[in-house]
Symmetry: C2
Subunit: 343 residues, 2 copies
DNA sequence: GCTGGCACTCATGGTCAGCGAGTGCCAAGT
DNA sequence: ACTTGGCACTCGCTGACCATGAGTGCCAGC
């Protein structure tokens, strides 16, 4: 009973099951693959694979279905990422090129990924732990209100409005504001979001005592914005694809939709993905730490330009998934979106 | 056969069916409501109601189910918006008070609405047809790139980056930029988004011929941003509630999810809602112009501060829906979010 | 115009038998 | 030591059949 053939059988089972979504028996397997052995031999191999926990039978007289462990082995050793055709690649590139701003890039990317894989696509907004301050602007609104605008080098903008005790419409107020704008930008521009707040700490002391309250209030709000902007957002598309799999298979769709609504969960999914060393990470069924996602798999990767990897994106679908093509799509989209973001 | 009693029967049918989600027969009706007549009489009334197209029987020997027309009559004449308790109202208010910025307000509002109604909540971002320019800022990035930031009076921010032929880091460039900033703001601030572009049309002529190309490029991009920002966005929450109704009733969830992904469809839903005169608009089943939403109802209303109604929000659920309470929730949430937005 | 009664319809749920895909195992072949 | 053909067995699936009962429509009487 050669080890090699047993794995070939497993590969064949995975491929057939993914295609037909029905438990695959020894006979059906022989028809669709040239294994060069008889049905009885395949049955013996299957028994062994079942013993190892790689496949399982839904009931006594049915074919076999891969277990999570079976898929894992398949992904790790029995398949390679299926390369995409030149036409597909260029279609991806062209579609993403058309984006006009960051929101649009993200929006197009998830939609594209969802339609390529026909599954649920998830994309984290470019994470800003590594991103830096591009500019900070102060805009007076009426005499006692001030809008603070934070512009980040990824193109994102965050704004805050505060009430002030100073009247900023006086020449005096405008001068203070101009000074503040200059000093704040001189210190913060170029600094990473995480560091920017620290570098501004001693700023109030450089101002007249009378202005220090104002400066402190501004810094407090700016600090808030810096933290807020680091807060990570996530976007998704293709949820209707869940309905399609729902008809194929009794995957209970409710818990999955719930999980998808909890963006924290999604962020964790994409986040832990990045801890793995592989380019494209795959988490299968129970490897997934979240109840409700135990019969789904997540294929994800990181994207971003150059050495600064910024965030994660990926797709979520049933464990019965075409891993090679899905992985190829995820990888290709990540590559292209990284290129676009590098501008 | 009194008209009045027939309507009472219809009301009872709607109420029971909403509660039990099973076709309701004459006998069951008698048990749960004091109609003061016998089962046979109710049957006669039911036959009449069926004749009028207000109820229908799924099959010969089953109870009756309201038709879309039946729900319509119920909503129009047989029910009143159920007032919410003081506790509920204050909970709504408190939850929304906690929001830190516009995104957060919208986010909290949809989530709240979804959990109150246990249905899918939809909310349009504050529409900007009536909103105006608060400030326009130009930020040089390196020597040949310029970021244009548009700040709108609802707190939204839109940004664009353009390449320039001018070197803006020279004193000369900075002077031009300063002049441009002053002139653009002088003309555009306070103007409605729709009008702002027009008011800037003649601006290039006020500059040196050498600078006009730059000015024109900036205006083109700004124009783009003004249009872009008018483009309406929509946010939703509670999609997992669809799964719950899916188990109750063979509402095919797929087409609904698809419709929900097409934000244009949702915008139209909320948009046409505003054309009706009622405070809370209800569109039932086939009254809905979109395939895939023919077995769902949409309860929506407008929100916004004062006389300036800004946008729509609402919920989407199965036609078999508790209209009075849903309408109450939608109305209450709209009231509170309007109050919050008025700051 | 309401009511009780009655015959009729039909979806639902349970039982039962036949079918067939698929298995496990064994004895024989290479 | 594997592989193979054969064979008995398991068990889910399908369709037929039947009993049940909720619900209806209609009619004659009040």
């Amino acid at each position: 009973m050669s080890e090699e053939r047993r794995l070939a059988v497993l590969r064949a089972i995975v491929q057939d099951y993914v295609e037909t979504s029905e438990p695959v028996g020894s006979k059906a397997l022989l028809e669709r693959h040239q294994l060069g052995v008889s049905a009885a031999t395949v049955r013996n191999d299957m028994a062994a694979l079942e013993e190892e926990g790689l496949i399982a039978a839904p009931h006594t007289s049915a074919g076999r279905v891969p277990t999570d462990a079976g898929y894992r082995l398949f992904v790790d050793r029995l398949s390679s990422v299926k390369p995409m055709s030149a036409a597909e690649r260029s279609a991806i590139g062209q579609f993403l090129e058309g984006a006009v701003d960051l929101d649009d890039v993200v929006d197009r990317t998830v939609r594209l990924l969802a339609s390529l894989t026909r599954q649920v696509a998830v994309m984290q907004y470019p994470s800003l732990t590594r991103s830096s301050v591009r500019h900070i602007e102060f805009v007076p609104m009426g005499s006692t209100r001030l809008m603070i605008v934070l512009i980040v080098n990824t193109g994102r903008v965050e704004q805050r409005v505060i009430e002030t005790t100073h009247d900023l419409s006086t020449p005096d107020g405008e001068a203070t504001l101009g000074l503040l704008r200059a000093k704040v930008n001189a210190r913060a521009v170029g600094a990473r979001l995480v560091d920017a707040a620290d570098s501004l700490g001693s700023l109030p002391e450089e101002f007249e005592p009378a202005d220090r309250d104002l400066v402190r209030a501004v810094l407090r709000s700016l600090d808030d914005a810096l933290v807020e902007e680091r807060e990570e957002r996530v976007v998704l598309a293709g949820t209707s694809n869940l309905a399609r799999v729902g008809t194929d298979f009794p995957l209970t769709i409710g818990p999955v939709l719930e999980a998808l609504e909890q963006h924290v969960v999604l962020l964790k999914l994409l986040g832990t993905a990045r801890e793995t060393s592989d380019a494209v990470s795959v988490r299968i069924g129970h490897e997934n730490p979240f109840a409700g996602l135990q019969s789904t798999s997540v294929v994800s990767t990181e994207y971003g330009h150059g050495s600064e990897l910024v965030a994660g994106l990926g797709v979520l679908g049933p464990t019965r998934m075409d891993y090679p093509t899905t992985m190829a799509s995820v990888r290709a989209v990540a590559t292209y979106v990284s290129r676009i973001l590098a501008q």
